[in-house]
Symmetry: C2
Subunit: 321 residues, 2 copies
């Protein structure tokens, strides 16, 4: 491996100059920079992030905290976050708060010891207050004034879902969704439903209730008891949509002939043995990119917007017309 010393020697400059050219910090003559860049290219120079981090007194580590990594949304998010973070020379440690207490402890310890440079806090649950000096960003959740978040255009996308169900002939459109314990952008999913129904002068059929992962089927059974006449369902998550599909099928309803179902998230993959879900697909790659950008700005002490919105859109499947 070529080091910065090799590049400097080959280019006939000092190692400090080479560093400034390669890192982009500090002023440098364009010709010198050009020469150094060429040499670096020729030698296949790749900066050693460990040395860089050591010098810069950064741990080079970002924590990603998620409720559970085994949920496909978080699994996917983790992968894309890792991509972004890795490209920036950081490593990422993922903390799956539900499923891995041991690691959570290690992590919390690291946080206490100031060994992470930042946190991406993607959670649905409440948590102890964090060191306010530590850069934190979130997804969807409003964690406090100092903590920016990335989110989808939940309201607009959800409106489109409800309008579509109505346009495709559903007479009794209902909505089922969770009830986040903390303030979260996901509330705009059911709010959009309520607004559209009221604008059309239609009755609101809404089951909004807190539940844990795994309880989706109970939730859906309760939903059908309450609104047996439903022929169009807007489910707040794909897992709810999936449960709705199963329960409705068990009840002898045909999907989408008798009941149309549209979910939210767009993370279920082909290996899921099912007719494909019609759902709102969130743009996780872009969300990850925006989230990391926010975090890096915070780490550098720069100003950031409090909120970044990434468009989501409906993808067609077999559960709606």
């Amino acid at each position: 491996m070529a080091t910065i010393k090799d590049v400097a020697r080959e280019a006939g400059v000092g190692v400090g100059t080479a560093s400034r050219a390669l890192s982009g910090n500090g002023s440098i003559h364009p010709d010198t920079k050009k020469k150094i860049d060429e040499v670096a290219e020729k030698l296949g120079f790749v900066p050693n992030q460990q040395a860089r981090n050591l010098k810069k007194q950064s741990s080079g580590c970002i924590a990603l905290i998620v409720p559970t990594i085994f949920h496909p949304f978080f699994a996917k998010a983790a992968l894309y976050f890792e991509n972004e973070i890795y490209a920036l020379g950081y490593r990422m440690v993922v903390v799956s708060s539900q499923d891995n207490r041991a690691k959570e402890k290690v992590m919390l310890n690291m946080i206490k010891q100031q060994r992470v440079d930042g946190i991406i806090f993607v959670t649905h649950y409440d948590h102890d207050s964090l060191d306010p000096s530590l850069p934190v960003v979130s997804i969807d959740r409003h964690l406090g004034a100092g903590i920016p978040y990335v989110t989808s255009n939940n309201y607009e996308a959800s409106r489109a879902v409800v309008e579509r169900l109505l346009a495709k002939g559903a007479k009794n459109v209902a909505c089922v969704c969770g009830d986040p314990v903390v303030e979260s952008e996901t509330i705009y999913r059911y709010k959009a439903y309520v607004d559209v129904m009221q604008e059309h002068g239609l009755p609101v059929r809404l089951l909004k209730k807190a539940f844990d992962h795994g309880q989706e089927p109970e939730m859906i059974r309760e939903f059908f008891e309450k609104f047996p006449e439903t022929d169009g369902i807007f489910a707040g998550t794909d897992m709810l949509a999936l449960a709705a599909y199963h329960v409705a099928t068990q009840m002898g309803r045909k999907i989408p002939e008798d009941v149309q179902i549209i979910g939210f998230d767009g993370v279920l993959d082909k290996w899921q043995t099912l007719p494909s879900l019609t759902t709102v697909q969130q743009n996780i790659p872009e969300m990850a990119k925006a989230g990391v950008e926010l975090l890096m700005k915070r780490i550098r002490g720069e100003e950031t917007p409090a909120r970044v919105e990434i468009p989501a859109c409906i993808i067609d499947g077999d559960t709606a017309k």
Copy 2:
């Protein structure tokens, strides 16, 4: 953060001595070590891995290559590998070969540039030959003489499955599984089935065929066409078992009354809206631990066994008696 210098000063020794005490390399007087350990404890000293790696000329990076991170088995494996690797001061980069070409390229580049210290190669597909000087370990797959692997006791566990189906009254037990393109320990799943059936003097009903993720339902439909009388299924993976459940249900069969199904892997989680699967649960945490241990030995140039076996066992669910 306390550094080794702080520890050395506080303990009244040289920094080299402190290093030897803390890292365990080099001889040191027990009393000195005790003193240094106490001081380190008191100061909450945590060694800086970046400095350590820099000095040791190690990239501190391990690559995990999997076919797709969105399959729950690999997702789970990735999490546990990350745990083990992280605890050792390495970072891990995961390469999901199917789903993320961009990163795969970056990765292959890194490999070429000798920037990873080792690879955990968990794949079902063939791959270009790797630099033979690079430490590599695998799971299940026989990648070559120099590459050790971790595996479950596929044969014994699978025998137990078939014996159980027979003991619980299944008259026509059949087996469905993939056909790995490369030599893999997973073949012992169907081999165990064949052996048990023959020992009992029963006819072998086996569908073994290569297929991609997502094609499980077709596979199962073909299976039922071929063996319509089946009332006991040993599926080589949970995804096949899941597909078998769906297809059988669609055909009007009751599970487990008409057809019993037992899978293999044990990775499907509760959020899966389904009756829980009876399946063979592989011990992924232990497999990850053993895999990392093998890899570290290889990195240090030590001898390792060519094969490490971790026991798996049947967990009860609702799809078998």
